[in-house]
């Protein structure tokens, strides 16, 4: 599915990306590839959805927004109905079903921190279920990169 040059690009770019006029050229030189080849391979990795994005990860709170992880205990018979209700909120960025009594886990991203509690109250009101609000208190940065 991917070859050694793809792996080298992925492993290299996890360590960061050069900020200069021709960053792909710098990456290419480092890996012994041509700039065009790096661009084509990145496009291919994005097209195959092996990479979901190539760009910045922002710190939501520093941009004035609100961000939290929330969970619900959804009765299995109501799962599809509640999932549709929750996903209808534009503030829901991710939603995963997980194997636990707390079986629905979603990320809320809002334009202001105050909006988080308002969205949670709306979800509780619509679903009749208690939302567990689990905001991040601290992020620990990963020391090692993921080698593929």
């Amino acid at each position: 599915m991917i070859d050694n040059n793809d792996r080298a690009i992925i492993n290299h770019l996890q360590g960061g990306f050069p900020l200069c006029e021709r960053p792909y050229q710098v990456v290419a030189e480092h890996l012994g590839l041509t700039e065009t080849e790096v661009l084509q391979r990145l496009q291919n990795l994005l097209d195959k959805k092996i990479l979901s994005r190539f760009g910045p990860m922002y710190h939501a709170e520093k941009l004035g927004g609100g961000l939290t992880l929330a969970a619900l205990k959804v009765p299995p018979a109501r799962f599809d109905q509640v999932m549709a209700m929750v996903n209808a909120f534009p503030e829901v960025a991710h939603n995963y079903q997980r194997e636990h009594e707390l079986n629905m886990w979603f990320v809320l991203a809002t334009e202001t921190p105050q909006r988080i509690l308002a969205v949670i109250a709306e979800i509780e009101q619509q679903t009749g279920l208690k939302v567990y609000n689990l905001p991040k208190e601290r992020e620990y940065f990963i020391g090692l990169k993921w080698e593929v």
């Binding site: 006029e21 520093k62 004035g64 886990w105 990320v107």
Partner: protein
């Protein structure tokens, strides 16, 4: 705390969907903003330095690379051991995220969340056992994901403009 100005916000909006895959990826935005590419990249470096950009690079879809199992592992770590334990966790290659979150007692005693990827569930279970052994044995649970229903990421909108864009990529 650094407050992004109007130019920063245009940069934040422009690059959030990803950097263009062209030889000079900063040139179109630099032209649009009337800046040199060097000035633009120094602005991006500043956004990185101030922590507004946490990371600049690639986001891997682990599942597409054959890592079929993803477990959110939640740990109940005594408060006084929390920082050391979390920093220890981040040194393990299978840990891809590590967050401290508030407990909801008595129903939810867990205060440390890690994401662990593996080729299959048995691998995740083995990684978690090794982690637990190495870092000091704490009560924990693995919450395997069954299905992902929505993944559109957060979308940031320039507050200096009035337009509001909902997240519509589903």
């Amino acid at each position: 705390m650094y407050q992004p100005d109007a130019i920063d916000w245009q940069i934040i909006e422009y690059i959030q969907e990803g950097l263009p895959l062209v030889h000079r990826p900063y040139a179109p935005l630099a032209t649009q903003l009337g800046l040199s590419e060097t000035h633009l990249t120094s602005r991006i470096a500043n956004l990185h330095h101030t922590g507004i950009i946490k990371r600049f690079g690639i986001v891997i879809h682990h599942r597409r690379l054959g890592y079929q199992a993803n477990g959110m592992v939640v740990w109940d770590v005594p408060d006084e051991q929390l920082i050391d334990t979390a920093q220890h966790f981040t040194q393990f290659v299978h840990v891809t995220l590590c967050y401290q979150r508030s407990r909801h007692l008595p129903q939810w005693p867990y205060n440390l969340f890690t994401m662990i990827h593996g080729l299959n569930r048995q691998h995740v279970i083995a990684h978690v056992a090794a982690l637990n052994e190495a870092c000091g044995s704490f009560p924990h649970e693995i919450l395997f994901s069954q299905q992902c229903f929505k993944q559109c990421g957060a979308h940031y909108v320039n507050p200096i403009k009035t337009e509001v864009k909902p997240c519509d990529r589903q």
